[in-house]
């Protein structure tokens, strides 16, 4: 493999603690190294910003609901469809881009690792086929556990080891990466048209509460010592006054301590917290409770969050929170897709227009920014849009602009149709903080990499780590306008992914060397779980056990398995 030297850039790297010093980054054989030979290809990064490749902790980019979104929204392809050039594939779609566009667009912004946030286990093959067809970026997928019948039954009986053995089995069967929980219990209730709106609402028939599910899965996750923590989308998403449910969910995490060999410190990651930080009790008195939420987050180091920033676009919401999507279609009357998945989960899809002329949308926009601006530890608060739910991932540069520039967000805030009402229902107007390049690197690189248990590989520029290096055309020591921030982060000047230059001057030049991450967790043989699995497939699944597991081969041509040994 070739050698590269990225010279004289202003480097921001939380892993090595470099805060904008001029530094050379050397790359050899796909890794960051101390030095390279004189034959290395040199990139002059003087006057530019250098960071590690960014890490996406939560996005819906591959799988059945994403694809249903694509297929049922031809209008999403109306603009921005492009022919393929220079050996690249044709691209299309805005809020739900095609797989080719997904890979290219992430790479152009300097992202090199992306986690698909919700994989229905029965549809794991589909997820992996899409991941395979998404160029450049390394990807993993989180299978959903929070409404799975095995989990509900084991946890009802407090069977921790069986829960862990089942998690291990399902991660291997689906080639999944982490334990994802969406609306615990509520999605199972949705199979009967019901929901669980608090952590204490019992799940119909299974007679277990969301609180028991959440605590049980945290415990099982730490029993196994998985790279990532339990990753949750709590009950009661999207409703006025739901911040109390969110705080109740956070409290379930109290007393847990991380147990893993990956350097991860949190035991709960709560995703798209913007959707869970609402006060008021109706849409009229709807208000931000980001202060209460962030007070809790700041005081509890075993918790990480991501923001779920609303970008004020027309987008396509999609989630395994089936009852929420039904609720949403009743609100906005746009087309509703739903799939209930036997024994496992469900998913719903509804298009949504976040209009700056609608007060609630503008308040949601403000809340997302407040969360990041109120975060005392940027290593525990990550930037997402819950793509495509609060907006497409391609808007990250704009969110970074708003976070780095009070001027930019004031311009937006004060020109809303209902600006006065929005300002009085939120805290944003009073927040003067402007995030630094270093803090952005924490929130988009080192932080999410650490939370995912990948800190030795991704998100940093220390020798020995994977050579994912990004150069942005912006000089942190010169003066720049807010729009220049957005422009720089939209089209990276250079992206090297695992030692291969894939983007130059904002243009994709190589389809890269994509890998699929999954977690191979070994546990002691557990005959009871194996027997339960056989029985459930025989009696209740509509596919046979022998046709369930995703074997590697053409589904995962380039696997990157992370091994965990929980046999002790």
């Amino acid at each position: 493999m070739a050698e590269y030297l990225i010279k004289n850039g202003f480097v921001f790297d939380p892993v090595t603690g470099v805060k904008g010093d001029k530094k050379d980054i050397a790359v050899k054989d796909g890794k960051i190294v101390d030095s390279v030979s004189s034959s290395a290809k040199v990139y002059d990064a003087s006057g530019k910003t250098v960071m590690a490749g960014a890490v996406e902790v939560h996005a819906h980019v591959a799988g059945p609901k994403v694809n249903e979104g694509r297929n049922y929204r031809p209008e999403d392809k109306l603009f921005g469809t492009r022919a393929g050039v220079n050996g690249m594939r044709t691209t299309g779609g805005f809020s739900i881009p095609t797989t080719f566009k997904t890979g290219y667009a992430y790479a152009q912004m300097g992202y090199t690792v992306v986690m698909e946030a919700a994989m229905p286990p029965l549809y794991a093959r589909h997820v992996h086929e899409e991941i395979r067809d998404t160029p450049i970026i390394d990807e993993g997928a989180f299978p959903v556990f929070g409404n799975n019948w095995f989990v509900l039954e084991y946890l009802k009986n407090n069977e921790l080891e069986n829960t862990a053995a089942y998690i291990s089995w399902l991660l291997r069967a689906t080639k999944g990466y982490a334990v994802k929980v969406v609306n615990p219990g509520g999605t199972e209730a949705w199979a009967w048209g019901l929901n669980c709106l608090s952590v204490n609402d019992p799940v119909p028939y299974f007679d277990i509460t969301p609180a028991q599910i959440v605590k049980g899965l945290i415990e099982a996750n730490e029993y196994l010592g998985l790279p990532h923590s339990m990753h949750i989308h709590a009950n009661n998403l999207g409703n006025p006054g739901n911040y109390t449910t969110t705080l109740d969910t956070f409290r379930l995490n109290e007393g847990f301590k991380a147990n893993n060999r990956f350097g991860r410190e949190q035991t709960m990651h709560h995703t798209h917290v913007q959707f869970h930080s609402y006060g008021g009790d109706n849409w009229g008195n709807f208000e931000s409770k980001s202060d209460a939420i962030m007070d809790y987050v700041n005081a509890h180091p075993n918790l990480t969050i991501d923001t779920g920033n609303v970008t004020l676009d027309e987008t396509t919401t999609m989630t395994a929170d089936g009852p929420f999507e039904h609720h949403l279609t009743e609100l906005n009357h746009l087309k509703w897709a739903n799939v209930d998945v036997e024994l496992e989960t469900a998913a719903g899809i509804v298009p949504y227009v976040y209009s700056p002329d609608i007060k609630v949308c503008a308040i949601q926009w403000a809340i997302g920014l407040e969360l990041a601006l109120l975060a005392k530890d940027p290593m525990r608060c990550f930037i997402t849009t819950d793509h495509p739910n609060a907006g497409p991932f391609t808007r990250y540069p704009r969110i970074i602009k708003w976070l780095m520039s009070k001027e930019a967000r004031e311009e937006r805030l004060t020109t809303f149709k209902h600006a006065d009402k929005v300002i009085s229902a939120t805290h944003l107007h009073g927040l003067d903080r402007e995030l630094s390049f270093y803090e952005i690197a924490q929130m988009t690189r080192a932080g999410p990499a650490k939370a995912l248990g990948l800190m030795g590989t991704y998100g940093g520029l220390a020798p020995g780590m994977d050579a994912d290096v990004v150069v942005y055309d912006i000089n942190p020591e010169a003066s720049f306008t807010p729009d220049q921030i957005e422009q720089a982060f939209t089209a990276a000047a250079l992206v090297i992914k695992t030692g291969v230059p894939v983007v130059e001057n904002g243009v994709v030049i190589n389809n890269g060397n994509k890998r699929t991450l999954w977690v191979d967790a070994k546990v002691n043989e557990n005959p009871q779980v194996l027997r339960d699995v056989e029985e459930k497939f025989l009696k209740y699944y509509s596919v046979s056990l022998n046709n369930y597991e995703v074997k590697g081969g053409h589904y995962i041509p380039n696997p990157y398995a992370i091994e965990v040994d929980a046999t002790q």
Binding site: N71, T90, G92, K335
Partner: protein, 451 residues
């Protein structure tokens, strides 16, 4: 002694049964017996064993006779035809694996072709309706475990999807459905007295072409408003009775077929059926599922979706993807003389398209890739026989509820036969050379399965 291959996936219809057992000879070359399959599915496996099977490509001559050609010649002819065409139609894709579909899409992107699948004459109207109003749905296992009211509208699974009733919808005992069919109410809506209709608890034999009226009447009945005495040939008392059964379901589902998708009203019928389902979710839990025909037509829509964003009728002739049913659909293109070559794989338009379209295919440069001799192969200039997907080569396929399975190879194909994916990969590489540019290339290192 023969060996038995278990958990075999049936590559016939969208039911995609995965519990077949196939007995093969010890040397793995002959299928001796097929267990658990329906008559159609078993025939698909056994037909691969036909003694008179065509095993090499053949070119139709001026006088209508056939001349055997090599696969190399067939690849060259196909690549030349596609590369020289201004706008080739690449149709079919429903009886092959997702891997083959994916290679086909690369070719279409390189040559500027139109990719269309069998939905164009089947459930394409359903796909359009979904684009209008969405679709509340579920997997087939949910029906098995929960459904107590099951509606079949304009479909006849007793004949078209023979094991559907026993595996998923009517007879199985699931987790919350311990009484099996005794605990389920079966409603059938069809103008014909089909064998499915004969099993119904409530059979609504409506006037032909009046589905939209009857669906609308149900929506009126759900709201407790008044109806004319008779709608679509059904008395209002029976409509109110059916509406009550639907509203009082614990978990209900509507299955629908080509009786509503391709009769008067087309996509508007499905719009209304979906809105019936959505209305019912105000009262209880209800889903709706299309009875997809070919075993992997759903997969074709899925792969087209993630690669280009549209489920069928995808026109790549401008280099990027366009979709406009009525303009970019196969029959419209053929009948308006908008395509100048036809490539068919995994379908039989010769048997299923209107004769006016079939005539057009016969006059154009054409290639048909199919293990069987079909009406399409008979009118095509070149017939390329290939191994049977799901019998002689594995590959991914999607069930009617969008669930993906990996089909199994149970026997070796006849000596020297190519698979769909192998043939397409060779054509892709050759087309790239002819077009003077590197093939657009798979973005990853996706391997092509094959013998």
């Amino acid at each position: 002694m023969a060996k038995t291959v278990t958990d075999v996936i049936c590559p016939f219809c969208g039911t995609l049964c995965d519990d077949l057992e196939v007995q093969v000879s010890d040397d793995g070359t002959k299928i001796l017996e097929v267990y658990n399959a329906c008559a159609i599915g078993a025939e698909k496996f056994l037909h691969s064993q036909a003694k008179d099977r065509i095993t090499r490509p053949r070119m139709q001559q001026e006088d209508g006779s056939y001349k055997e050609v090599s696969y190399d010649d067939a690849i060259e002819y196909t690549a030349q035809m596609l590369a020289n065409a201004k706008k080739p139609l690449m149709y079919g894709w429903s009886s092959t694996s997702c891997e083959a579909q994916s290679v086909g899409h690369e070719i279409a992107e390189t040559v500027g072709g139109v990719v269309d699948n069998t939905a164009t004459v089947c459930h394409g109207s359903s796909l359009i309706a979904i684009q209008d109003v969405g679709i509340p749905s579920c997997t087939l296992g949910e029906i098995k475990n929960r459904a107590d009211v099951v509606v079949f509208w304009g479909c006849n699974p007793s004949h078209a999807h023979p094991r559907h009733l026993s595996r998923y919808s009517i007879f199985p005992r699931g987790f919350f459905t311990g009484k099996g069919h005794k605990g389920r109410k079966m409603i059938v809506v069809d103008p014909r007295n089909t064998d499915t209709m004969k099993m119904a608890d409530i059979g609504l034999q409506l006037e032909q072409g009046r589905d939209y009226e009857l669906l609308s009447a149900l929506r009126v009945a759900f709201r407790g408003e008044d109806l004319p005495d008779v709608v679509a040939g059904i008395s209002k008392e029976r409509i109110f009775e059916a509406a009550e059964v639907l509203k009082n379901a614990r978990f209900g589902v509507i299955f629908f077929g080509m009786g509503v998708t391709q009769t008067l009203g087309k996509n508007h019928n499905i719009d209304e059926a979906i809105m019936v389902t959505k209305d019912l979710n105000e009262f209880t839990k209800f889903s709706i599922i299309a009875m997809r025909g070919h075993y992997n037509v759903t997969g074709s829509g899925a792969v087209l979706g993630w690669q280009f964003g549209f489920p069928f009728a995808t026109d790549l002739s401008r280099g990027f993807a366009r979709y406009n049913p009525g303009e970019t659909t196969s029959n419209d293109l053929l009948r308006r003389d908008e395509v100048d070559a036809v490539f068919v794989l995994g379908s039989d338009p010769g048997a299923h398209f209107p004769i006016s379209s079939v005539r057009k295919i016969a006059r154009l440069p054409s290639v048909a890739v199919d293990p069987h001799i079909t009406p399409t192969t008979e009118i095509s200039k070149l017939h390329v026989p290939v191994a049977f997907v799901g019998v002689e080569v594995g590959g991914c396929c999607y069930r009617m509820d969008n669930g993906p399975s990996e089909s199994r190879k149970v026997v070796e194909p006849p000596e020297g036969m190519m698979t769909d994916a192998e043939f397409l990969s060779r054509v892709r590489d050759r087309v790239g050379e002819l077009k003077g540019k590197a093939p657009v290339g798979s973005p990853s290192t996706a391997q092509v399965q094959g013998a």
